[in-house]
Symmetry: C2
């Protein structure tokens, strides 16, 4: 779960995508890999602040990784961008799964794929039936609903 890919493997992966294997890039990737939920730009910056990377570099790296498809950028409904690794096989993050956002405390949880099912309905976009949709759920988490 918290297993981080080793640096040479990361460099190779980046290189295959036309990106250099820089320290900031690797650090950003590993921060996301170690996280169990999507992280905001601020959270990534916080995690890496000891390493001294510039805020803009982290931001650009997040976007670069998103551009090449390694990372997914999404807004879970609270007007905050969050970044998450697009799962690659045995990672803890599968291809795509629903997210749950607590409307009170803002906490985020990843839901199992089976938690949500989409049904094709008359008049609805065809994408619903092909399953190529991203689902986000908002509500009160168990802590805040007490």
């Amino acid at each position: 779960m918290t297993a981080k890919p080793d640096v040479p493997a990361l460099k190779q992966m980046f290189h295959a995508l036309g990106l250099r294997g820089t320290g900031a890039r690797i650090a950003v990737y590993r921060a996301l890999a170690a996280a169990e939920k999507p992280l905001t730009h601020a959270e990534v910056s916080e995690l890496l602040k000891d390493a001294g990377f510039d805020n803009a570099s982290i931001f650009r790296n997040l976007n670069d990784l998103t551009d090449v498809g390694l990372v997914v950028r999404s807004d879970l409904g609270d007007h905050v961008w969050r970044f998450e690794l697009r799962g690659s096989g045995k990672q803890n993050h599968r291809e795509q799964h629903p997210h749950f956002l607590c409307t009170d405390c803002g906490d985020v949880a990843c839901l199992p794929d089976g938690a949500i099912s989409v049904r094709k309905v008359k008049g609805a976009p065809k994408a619903l039936s092909s399953g190529t949709v991203i689902v986000q759920v908002q509500g009160l988490c168990d802590v805040c609903s007490v």
Copy 2:
């Protein structure tokens, strides 16, 4: 569908909620009532620009209406705030329904309540089983998926 509540009724409703029945407020409310999908602040401003209302007033009214619960403010996943009337009975907007956001053109559609079903899963927040959740769906709309 495009039927707008008459002004006296609106004033009465606002008054009951501790809000005055001002021109800007009524105009904003009716703009939302006439829309068939959530509108952005910019879209509301655009609709009302002929009336000469200030941008800030529209913004504050949207927030005021949200504060008293007449309007729901949500971010459908594209980092843009959208405002929608919270349905009151026979309105075209029911209590709460899922929204569909096209990830390509940004168009928004309202989905029928039955399009999405949520299943309680081990480890997931309890809110899922009580049905008190808001669901958002992203994907390609029929136009963009061609």
